[in-house]
Every structure is written in structure tokens, then in C-alpha cells.
């Protein structure tokens, strides 16, 4: 009998999740081709409630040998994942840990706090410890929250001042408008941080249109290919990038399958670092075929 690995991830509603979907499907295709006795099923869900439903549906119709899940939120998915674990399924959690860590057989995480903190460190450095910054945040979720927290904790006590912070919903258009408004409101801005590259695209357009030269830095996050390309090309305003690679889902799927069919038990806690991508190492993070 085939061993079934279910992969439950958010639907592709913006660039980063699109990357997750891309890498998950790539993993499924490769593994299904390579291992005839493993079946990887990928399901996307547009909200936390839908993700819980999807878990119920997946487990109602067949026995799952393993579940790889990138939960929408920790609190909301903890109980439903536990219910699956209780049926004897191997649980791999990606990115957002569950509130009860004992449920996770394998935990593979990015570090959202580090995304914010590393960006802040770079800014402090580059601006010489002081400057006026505007921030665009995404949609109100944990990821966004942690990144902002990492950023704000790091600049605390330095001369970096956050002039303004508003939601732009990880959407380029909204970021474009918001940046236009920031530019109208503040005659002098030293740096911009959009905590996601989709938003950074809108920011860059708005800055370009305004013709303003006071903006020395415009940074994003997540490792979108267009932005990594800028880093490779040595862009002055966007010289670095923080990775938060959606490909972590692929890593997780492979590790889970290895545990299932390989002789090597894979358990524990893997934390992906969020090192700065600079011109020196950018090539490693450049995937021209990914949608993200």
C-alpha cells in the first residue's frame, strides 16, 4: 500500500504563498515520480477555518501516514493538528510552530523576528545610527507581527526613528499608494522598510515617480527573485535582502518522506536562519523559474 503524505498550505494569495505552493507542488511531483510507494497530496486553503476543514477532509477519507503543514495561525490550528496526530500520523510543521510543541514530530521554521531584526541592524549600520524611517506592514497576522516586533526591538535606543507605520496588506498597489502618501506627508525620509517584497515593488515605483533623492534605502524581505536580482546587480537603494524562502516547504516535504521510507529517523527542530543576502551570496538565493 502507498504511504500517503498530505501537505496542507495556504492558498496562493500573494507572492510568498505563491512560492510556497510552487515549491510544494514541485516537491510532490518529484517525489511521486521518484518513489512509487509514496503519494504526496497537496491541498491549499484560503483561510484558517478552511485549513481546518481541509485537514478534516483529508483525514476523513484516508489514513495519513504523514502531514506536512504550514499553519495559518498557531493557536487556531493546534487542536485540529493534534486530532490528526492522535490517529497516528507523523506531523511536520513548517514556519509557524503550534502552541503545543509536543505535537510536532518535526519542526522546520523560518525566523520572522530575525527578518525584522537583521533588516534593522543593516539600516542602523548603513544610516550611521540615526535617520527617519517609514514602515509598511502586511496584513494583521503573526508573521507580520513578529517581523515588526523584531525590527522595533532592534532599533530601540538608537537614533532611528519610525515616522509612520501603516498596513498595505502585502499588496503592491496599496504599497504604491501608501508610499505616495508618505512622500507627501514627510519632506524628508531616509529609509523605507516594506516587510515583504511585493510591497517593496510598489514602494520603489512611488519613489521613482516622486523623483526624491533623500531616500537612501528601500528594503523588503522574503527573497523575491526580482529583488534578489537587484541585489546581484548592486542596486544602491536596495543593496540587501532578507530571505524567508518559501522553498522551506520543499525541504520539509523531503525530510518527512525521508523519515517515512528512509532508514534515518528525522525528528526535532530545524530553524532556518535569516542571514542578509548581499551581492556576495545573492546568487544562491536566485530562482528565476519560481513565480516568486
Amino acid at each position: 500500500d502507498k504511504k500517503v503524505v498530505a501537505v496542507s498550505i495556504p492558498a496562493a494569495d500573494h507572492g510568498w504563498t505563491a512560492g510556497v505552493v510552487y515549491h510544494a507542488q514541485a516537491a510532490a511531483k518529484e517525489i511521486n515520480a521518484a518513489f512509487p510507494d509514496v503519494e504526496v497530496v497537496v491541498k491549499t486553503s484560503p483561510s484558517a477555518a478552511d485549513q481546518v476543514s481541509a485537514l478534516e477532509d483529508l483525514s476523513a477519507s484516508r489514513k495519513l501516514d504523514a502531514l506536512v503543514i504550514l499553519p495559518y495561525t498557531s493557536e487556531e490550528l493546534t487542536q485540529p493538528v493534534k486530532a490528526i496526530k492522535d490517529m497516528g500520523t507523523f506531523i511536520t510543521v513548517v514556519d509557524r510552530g503550534l502552541t503545543d510543541a509536543s505535537i510536532q514530530d518535526l519542526y522546520l521554521a523560518g525566523d520572522n523576528i530575525a527578518v525584522g531584526a537583521n533588516t534593522a541592524k543593516f539600516m542602523i549600520d548603513k544610516l550611521g545610527g540615526k535617520g527617519d524611517v517609514v514602515v509598511l506592514r502586511g496584513i494583521p497576522t503573526v508573521i507580520d507581527d513578529e517581523r515588526i516586533k523584531g525590527f522595533q526591538d532592534t532599533i530601540k535606543g538608537t537614533g532611528i526613528k519610525v515616522l509612520d507605520i501603516q498596513y498595505a496588506h502585502w499588496n503592491s498597489d496599496e504599497a504604491f499608494k501608501l508610499m505616495q502618501d508618505y512622500l507627501a506627508k514627510y519632506p524628508h525620509i531616509d529609509a523605507v522598510w516594506a516587510n515583504d517584497d511585493d510591497m517593496l515593488l510598489g514602494v520603489l515605483e512611488a519613489v521613482k515617480q516622486s523623483g526624491r533623492t533623500d531616500i537612501k534605502l528601500a528594503l523588503g524581505g522574503n527573497g523575491m527573485k526580482d529583488i534578489v536580482k537587484k541585489v546581484i546587480d548592486g542596486d544602491a537603494v536596495t543593496p540587501v535582502e532578507t530571505p524567508y524562502p518559501p522553498s522551506m516547504i520543499k525541504t520539509a516535504v523531503y525530510m518527512t518522506v525521508a523519515n517515512l521510507i528512509g532508514q534515518a529517523p528525522v525528528r526535532g527542530h530545524v530553524k532556518l536562519d535569516a542571514p542578509l543576502i548581499t551581492q556576495a551570496n545573492a546568487k544562491e538565493y536566485y530562482f528565476p523559474d519560481s513565480p516568486f
Binding site: 477532509d57 477519507s61 484516508r62 495561525t73 487542536q79 502552541t99 494583521p140
Partner: protein, 330 residues
């Protein structure tokens, strides 16, 4: 012209006559079940069906309220964010009370949920009726307001329910009574009550009359403002009940809770045969509509035909086809 006395018996016959129009949503439901079975025989398994129907409970409960609002000639786009707002208030209150009240914090929180729901509904109703603002816009406004309030309350994150309450509260979603999941029981009760109020009481008659023709209602001594406001208040109560069932499922409220539920709710009501222009409400059709929507989503997960990206497209197509089936069955 003295045919009147002779034709009197016909009345009761007609009353219970089979109507294709009313049967539409149930036919669509049956068609979907058959389709599902063909796609994946597991579809009709007890576990799966019970999961799906349990899940459709939120939308069904809210949609019962929406049936009132819509048949009174209104519309409520704020229900999705109202769920989030009420869930947030409820959890905050329960967590605050847990240390002093212990498990009694749960019923206390439920009471708060209902009160909040009634007040939210009242606010919508008053803006629409007294403020005379197009319901679409008025409730779009309050939708933004509720959504912002929950974001503010959570500081953009989540409000989880206290660990000490978690287990005790869980059965409200996950428990069963006589083998039937509790949310199904609750939504059945709400539907029966809704049907009773809409079809059997004075208020229900008035509600439909206001939706059919405001002037006639006014000239018949019916207060349009009161009637329509009450419909919104009923809607608020239903949202509160849905929130009460929702909280134990995910154990937290977030700024994205209930997002786009308003569209699902309205779709359920319309698929159920209630006309958006008002004057006629069909509670049982609404329930069928809510189940249909959830079955479609379930079918998408169970079948492997459709690219992940196209799920929404297939759902759209199925909904349109379901509506066409209804039209043709008339």
C-alpha cells in the same frame, strides 16, 4: 359567481402543494451529492458528511438571520467581521473572568456574545432604517468598523482562549449529543426557530410585507423602521450564536476570522431561493444553500481533478450551475 363556497376545500390542498420552485435548492443538493459520490465514494461516508454539515453550521446559522434581513428588503455585508469582533470580545471577556469565575466564565462569555451581537445588529439596523442609508453601503461601513476593531483588539495578532477554558469549551464544537454533532443541533434549532418566526408569527408576516412593498406595509400600520431594525437585530443574534460555536473550533480570534463569510452567507440565502429584492424568505432553502456551499468546497478537496489555482473558478462555475438548475426547475 357563487363558486366560492365550492372552491373552499381547494385552499388547504394548495397550501401543501409541491412546488418545484421551493424544491430547487434541495434538487441541487441531491445532484451535488450524486456527483460527489461519482467523484469519490468516500464523499458519502458518515464521517465526511458529518464533518461537512458541522462545518456549514456557522454559515447556516448566520444565513438564517440573513434570510430575515434580506426578506425584509435589507442586506448585511458586515456579518463576517461581526463574527470576528464578537469572537474577540467573547474570548477577551472569558479570559478576564476565568480566574474569578472558573468554568462559569464560559456561559458568562456566551451571554456577552449574545448581547454584543444584539447591539451590533441594532447599530446596523438603526443606520439603515433611521439613517436611511442604502444597506449595501451602511453595512460595508460597519464591516470596516468591526474588522478594524478586532484588529485593534488583537493588535494585529491573535487572541487565544485561556488554556483553562479550552478543554471545557471544546465540546460545543466537537461534541455530539445522541450521536449528532452539537453545531448541527444548534443550527437545526436556529433554523426551526427562524422558520417558526418567519412563517408562523406576526413578525414574520410583517417582515415579508416590508420587503415586498414598504408603502403597503406602512399603510397597514406596520412600522417599517421597527420591523427592519428587528431583522438586523435577529441577524446580530444569529451571528453571536455562530461566534459561540466558532470559538471552540479554532480557539482564537484573529483579524482574518470570518473574512468573506458575508459573501458565503448571501450566496447561501440566494441559492436557497430567497430573492435579494426582498418580500420572500425561505429558511430551509437557506440551510440547503449553506450545505451546498460547504459540499462544493469539500468536493474540491476530495477530488484531485482541479489545479489548486483553479479551485475558486470551479466553485464559481458550480454555483452558477446550481442557480441555473434552480431556474430550470421552476
Amino acid at each position: 359567481m357563487t363558486a366560492l363556497t365550492q372552491s373552499a376545500p381547494t385552499r388547504s390542498e394548495r397550501q401543501y402543494q409541491f412546488s418545484w420552485a421551493d424544491a430547487g435548492p434541495f434538487l441541487a443538493l441531491a445532484a451535488l451529492l450524486a456527483l460527489g459520490f461519482l467523484v469519490n465514494p468516500d464523499f458519502l461516508s458518515v464521517t465526511n458528511l458529518s464533518n461537512v454539515i458541522t462545518r456549514s453550521a456557522y454559515v447556516a446559522i448566520i444565513a438564517v438571520g440573513a434570510t430575515f434581513v434580506i426578506s425584509s428588503g435589507g442586506l448585511d455585508l458586515s456579518v463576517g467581521s461581526m463574527v470576528a469582533f464578537i469572537a474577540g470580545i467573547t474570548i477577551m471577556f472569558m479570559n478576564m473572568m476565568a480566574p474569578s469565575l472558573g468554568l462559569w466564565a464560559i456561559p458568562a462569555g456566551m451571554a456577552i456574545a449574545v448581547v454584543t451581537g444584539l447591539l451590533c445588529g441594532l447599530a446596523n439596523g438603526v443606520i439603515v432604517t433611521v439613517g436611511k442609508i442604502e444597506p449595501f453601503i451602511a453595512t460595508l461601513g460597519t464591516m470596516g468598523i468591526f474588522r478594524a476593531l478586532i484588529t485593534y483588539m488583537t493588535n494585529g495578532g491573535t487572541i487565544p482562549i485561556d488554556k483553562s477554558l479550552r478543554e471545557a469549551y471544546r465540546p460545543v464544537y466537537f461534541g455530539t449529543l445522541g450521536g449528532i454533532p452539537i453545531p448541527i443541533l444548534i443550527s437545526a434549532i436556529v433554523a426551526v426557530l427562524g422558520a417558526f418566526v418567519l412563517y408562523k408569527t406576526k413578525y414574520g408576516r410583517r417582515c415579508a410585507a416590508v420587503g415586498a412593498n414598504e408603502d403597503v406595509a406602512r399603510y397597514s400600520g406596520i412600522s417599517v423602521i421597527k420591523t427592519r431594525t428587528i431583522a438586523y437585530v435577529i441577524q446580530g443574534a444569529c451571528v453571536a450564536i455562530a461566534a459561540i460555536c466558532y470559538v471552540p473550533r479554532l480557539g482564537a480570534a484573529t483579524p482574518t476570522t470570518g473574512q468573506l463569510w458575508e459573501l458565503q452567507v448571501i450566496t447561501a440565502v440566494v441559492i436557497g431561493g430567497t430573492a435579494l429584492r426582498g418580500g420572500k424568505g425561505r429558511i430551509w432553502g437557506t440551510i440547503a444553500g449553506a450545505v451546498i456551499l460547504e459540499l462544493i468546497a469539500n468536493l474540491m478537496v476530495l477530488s484531485d481533478f482541479v489545479s489548486e489555482y483553479l479551485v475558486a473558478a470551479v466553485q464559481g462555475v458550480i454555483i452558477i450551475i446550481a442557480m441555473l438548475v434552480q431556474r430550470f426547475s421552476k
